[in-house]
């Protein structure tokens, strides 16, 4: 028998990966139920239009069509819902229904649902529906929305869903006494998560006991159970939500979608299982989007480069509705919380406005708000360095929050704990020769190529604690739980409330439980993603798997180990504390002598209780939970470094090098951690250079497919180097911190700074993401309008 080696700290591959790469994934679309009806939606072709009438007789009479339901038909089976977050005083959100009634407010909003024997028939029937539309003016830009050209929802009075200010220090004095003030207006394009597996749902309703079983490609089964029960008026313990394998989620699969609720209602109406699988085209028009901010920002400096003050005004344009149940405000609130957070800033003022316009709802996408905050703060810092003629790295060092300074209340009023900004910056620069790069940059310029170096520090609000959603009013929990079962075989099963959409959370939980008990990783099986089979908990969001999810698992594992040793003690007539679990045996803690096979303890506990002393009740499973009760967020930090080259003749930006230094606390699984960071970086690079859902002024969608919405491909991405600072979190047993969003948080900012470092060579700059060739050429054109030569000729 091999010795047991601790699982934590090892790059153990995900057990799920083997199944997935051998084509044995069990996604929602793989699950079949007899007599399933397939649902397709007629979606509004207009961004904003009144629905005067719907004629659906021809569709109804098409062979194979089971049900044609309008918004009004669907609305009879549920309550309306509104994405309000009560922590944000004064927030306004309109009521929503699963399918539009009377008016469509974005292009792609579901208007009619059709259930048929096949999806193809349902699509055929869509063609037969006639709608008398009355198009209205659409709000397609944040500025148009804020100006109130049209008021989208009469009851709200205007299009402003939230307007709030965060402030600290004397901002007027800070700017009045500044040696230099830099100022810019940053624009961020609209993105979406682009998961490989689209949104999918299979709902089955049983009228005999009024139960609903839903298979759904989602991150939060417990939340969905509560939401479906509440909105459909069902008893919650008769609603079960199973999230089987999920092919990427990224925050996109964290909310309620009208078309998914409508599918549950169709299952109830037709009394047949109902399946809806979004196709790629409707995904672009109906998945939650993210970002779309216009941020006006100013930063004031002392002559030595110290930051005196920071002011931002974030205009955050969501869609026609606030996402439900978590609301859309999170992104803007994170911008206010995090801009400039790596630095000590005495005076701060942030205004955020969330406005409604005629587009799909904006939701939570990996690193909610962080990329915006990071890009704004880090770009201003670089601009300050250029204006003062100082070194941007030295300026960062001057202003950074000091490591080891303990809990620190940021200028935005958040308690940031255990930051290591100084250490991560040092670490990212280890082995990177800035002076050599500057030389290379000068040489490249002789050849007409512009090279740039960008650095971006970032602070993350991960592992959300109880207060944030506790105050929101939504059925969202920050608590995670884990049920550990000591099986008759002597092996372990864990039922976790934390879920896994490819991150490897299950693997990390398995590693933690294996070590907590003392068994082999292979003897632990983790089950997650089922609101009935697993304890209630948060699921997956805000990089919480390795902190909250693992902590609950460790606690349950240790409790299970204690019980195993108690039973072994009773069997062997020894003190429990003098024994350890070691793989498949129990050993004497001091001599290491093998005492009894673990399986024998399990056998007695499950089948031969009469052998135990009278009055002994074995407990063969243990449930433990963990909630960060009083902290809003578990904070951590990192830094990214990017090197780019620009071909000024084409406006083309190429990524040459990308490095990340991150404080992930204790590293549970180096491989999974690094790949989480890399995956996040890639999504951030997409935001920096490629991804943008384009809309016209009138809110007509311009990017319908992956031909127009460019995601970065392997060929565009340099090797991403990842290094760590392991500064364990004192709040948990293991000390792991969130890492899933770190890559996305800082990548775009690092690229933006690198591009502007390159463009500064010719006096140009950009402030809009993504940085497309059009935008680079326009920036170059501005500084060279007089030069009649082709723009390739920079010397």
């Amino acid at each position: 028998m091999t010795e047991v080696v601790p699982a934590i700290g090892r790059s153990i591959p995900r057990p799920r990966a083997k199944r997935l790469i051998s084509g044995r994934g069990r996604y929602t679309g793989d699950i079949t139920a007899r007599r399933t009806v397939h649902v397709a939606f007629l979606r509004s072709p207009y961004p904003h239009a009144i629905i005067n009438s719907i004629s659906a007789d021809a569709a109804r009479s098409l062979n194979g069509v089971v049900l044609v339901a309008t918004g009004a038909d669907i609305a009879q089976h549920c309550k309306p819902f509104a994405g309000i977050h009560r922590l944000f005083k004064g927030m306004k959100a309109p009521d929503q229904l699963p399918v539009a009634v009377g008016r469509a407010c974005w292009q792609g909003e579901p208007v009619v649902a059709i259930a048929a024997e096949t999806r193809a028939i349902a699509e055929d029937a869509l063609d037969l529906i006639e709608i008398d539309w009355e198009p209205l003016e659409g709000l397609g830009t944040p500025e148009k929305a804020v100006a109130g050209v049209v008021v989208l929802h009469d009851k709200l009075g205007d299009n402003i869903g939230y307007d709030g200010v965060t402030a600290s220090g004397d901002i007027d004095a800070a700017f009045a006494g500044a040696a230099v003030v830099v100022q810019d207006t940053f624009r961020f394009g609209r993105h979406t998560g682009v998961s490989l597996e689209p949104r999918s749902i299979l709902a089955a309703y049983d009228p005999s006991d009024e139960s609903l079983v839903v298979h759904e490609s989602h991150q939060c089964p417990a939340q969905q159970q509560a939401v479906f029960a509440d909105l459909m008026g069902l008893q919650e313990h008769r609603v079960r939500v199973v999230c089987p394998d999920v092919g990427g989620a990224f925050g996109l699969k964290q909310q309620l979608y009208g078309d998914e609720l409508a599918t549950c209602i169709i299952a109830k109406m037709t009394r047949r299982p109902a399946s809806f699988i979004a196709d790629r085209v409707e995904s672009f028009a109906s998945d939650n989007h993210a970002r779309e901010h216009v941020v006006e920002a100013r930063m004031a400096f002392d002559p030595d480069g110290r930051i005196r003050g920071l002011m931002i005004d974030d205009l955050f344009a969501v869609g026609a509705y606030s996402q439900y149940p978590r609301s859309s405000i999170g992104e803007a609130s994170h911008v206010a919380a995090l801009t400039g957070a790596p630095y000590d800033i005495a005076a701060y003022q942030a205004r955020v406005r969330m406005v409604y316009q005629n587009k799909p709802p904006v939701g939570h996408y990996r690193a909610v708000g962080h990329p915006i905050a990071c890009a704004v703060g880090e770009s201003l810092l670089d601009q300050g360095a250029r204006a003062l003629g100082l070194d941007a790295i030295a300026m960062r060092r001057l202003n950074q929050v000091r490591d080891g300074s303990g809990p620190h209340t940021s200028h935005s009023g958040f308690v940031l704990n255990g930051l290591s900004v100084e250490a991560t910056l040092d670490r990212v620069l280890e082995g990177f020769d800035v002076a050599a790069f500057r030389k290379e940059q000068a040489e490249a310029r002789e050849r007409g190529i512009l090279l740039g170096l960008g650095i971006a520090n970032f602070v993350e609000l991960a592992g959300t604690g109880a207060p944030y959603y506790g105050e929101s009013g939504a059925p969202v929990t920050a608590q995670e739980s884990c049920l550990v079962r000591f099986e008759p075989s002597g092996q372990i099963r864990c039922h976790a409330s934390a879920t896994d959409q490819g991150q490897g959370t299950d693997t990390a939980i398995g590693q933690a439980v294996a070590d907590a008990i003392g068994v082999f990783f292979d003897d632990v099986e983790v089950i997650s993603g089922d609101s009935m089979a697993c304890p209630s908990g948060g699921g997956a969001w805000a990089s919480r798997g390795a902190s909250a999810g693992v902590e609950a698992a460790v606690r349950a594992g240790r409790a299970m180990r204690d019980e195993i040793l108690r039973l072994a003690g009773l069997i062997l007539q020894r003190k429990p504390e003098q024994m350890t679990v070691a793989g498949r045996v129990i050993r004497d803690a001091s001599t290491g002598a093998e005492l009894v096979p673990l399986k024998d303890v399990a056998t007695i506990g499950h089948y031969r209780q009469h052998l135990l002393p009278p009055g002994t009740q074995p407990e063969m499973s243990m449930l433990r939970s963990f909630v960060p009760q009083n902290q809003s967020f578990l904070t951590t930090n990192g830094v990214q470094l990017s090197v780019v080259s620009i071909d000024p003749g084409l406006g083309d930006v190429r990524l040459l090098r990308h490095r990340v230094a991150h404080d992930s606390g204790t590293v549970i699984n180096p491989m999974l951690l690094n790949e989480q960071i890399r995956g996040g970086v890639v999504q951030g690079l997409g935001a920096a250079l490629f991804e943008e859902i384009r809309y016209g002024e009138d809110a007509v969608l311009g990017t319908g497919t992956l031909m127009d919405y460019l995601v970065p491909l392997a060929t565009e991405i340099p090797d991403i180097e990842v290094v760590h600072v392991a500064n364990a979190d004192p709040g948990t047993t293991i000390g792991a911190k969130g890492a899933g969003e770190a890559g996305t948080a800082g990548a775009a900012a690092a690229v933006l700074n690198a591009v502007n470092d390159a463009l500064a060579l010719i006096g140009a700059s950009v402030n809009t993401l993504p940085i497309t060739p059009e935008r680079v050429l326009a920036a170059i054109d501005q500084v060279t309008r007089e030069d009649q030569q082709a723009p390739g000729n920079y010397k």
Binding site: A120, P773, P791
Partner: protein, 278 residues
């Protein structure tokens, strides 16, 4: 994303395929590599009642040396062209161009005939065939005819091919191996359709005129008079920027788009001419 229902035919010979095509004129589409037709059908942007799959017709496959020309069968896959020693030796420009088409999985199925028949203005193959002075061979039940590529691309994704005709081959005049050429394109990501591209092919015995083709802009690839005027002599230093701008303005109603494309075309043109220099 499910196609409308359609009937599927898979003839084994060209005459059978032509007979089916003339029988169902207007209601049928040819299926070659399917890399464009299948997505179009899935999105219901194409709704053919009948699909005639020509993949079993071996006569349409392969590259033949026909003396002064190379004849490439319509059903020859991109990757077969890329791997062909005959193409490598006689027609490196074509291989270079196809190297920019999409990714392996698509090049394994996509065909030269499909690309020419589809006539996407940003596609590499139609533009390259135009630059090489190629001729398209089209066949119907009644006749075979040859169409010069100059006359073939007659509008956005529209060609001189008639509804009852199958594109059976493309004939390309062989080029002297020492003759230089230039192929250059700008795409956002490797394998993407070009944002803009320029091909320069100097004249030779089989092709009496210097050809310069611009693609990725406008409804079809086109021979640029402004660039062809820059062959020889001083080369591109005396580049006719104004003339190029006029050419671009033919295609862009709004000045902004032309303003964005012009510097890119200028840059590509400069670099393309630089490549012609030995």
């Amino acid at each position: 994303m499910k196609p409308t229902s359609f009937s599927y035919h898979r003839p084994g010979t060209l005459p059978e395929a032509l007979a089916l095509l003339s029988e169902y004129q207007g209601a049928a589409r040819i299926l070659a590599g399917g890399q464009s037709l299948m997505p179009l059908m899935a999105m219901r942007m194409a709704r053919p009642e009948r699909v005639i799959d020509i993949n079993r017709i071996d006569d349409l496959k392969g590259i033949r040396d026909a003396g002064d020309t190379l004849t490439i069968g319509a059903l020859t896959r991109y990757n077969d062209i890329l791997r062909s020693p005959l193409i490598a030796a006689q027609m490196p420009l074509l291989a270079e161009a196809i190297g920019h088409v999409a990714h392996h999985a698509i090049r394994n199925r996509g065909t030269i005939g499909g690309s020419l028949a589809l006539a996407d203005p940003s596609a590499e193959t139609p533009a390259t065939c135009l630059a090489l002075g190629a001729r398209i061979v089209a066949q119907s039940t009644s006749r075979e005819r040859e169409i010069a590529t100059d006359d073939f691309f007659d509008g956005l994704m529209s060609t001189a091919l008639e509804e009852h005709e199958i594109l059976v081959a493309v004939r390309i005049p062989k080029r002297p191996t020492a003759l230089p050429h230039a192929f250059i394109e700008f795409a956002r990501r490797k394998g993407d359709f070009a944002q803009a591209g320029i091909i320069l092919a100097p004249a030779h015995d089989g092709m009496p005129e210097n050809r310069a083709v611009i693609f990725g802009i406008g409804p079809t690839p086109w021979r640029s008079a402004a660039l062809e005027a820059a062959f020889g002599g001083e080369g591109f230093a005396a580049a006719p920027k104004a003339a190029l701008k006029d050419e671009l303005n033919v295609y862009f109603a709004d000045d902004e788009a032309a303003a964005f494309k012009l510097p890119i075309v200028m840059t590509l043109a400069q670099r393309a001419f630089a490549r012609l220099k030995p």
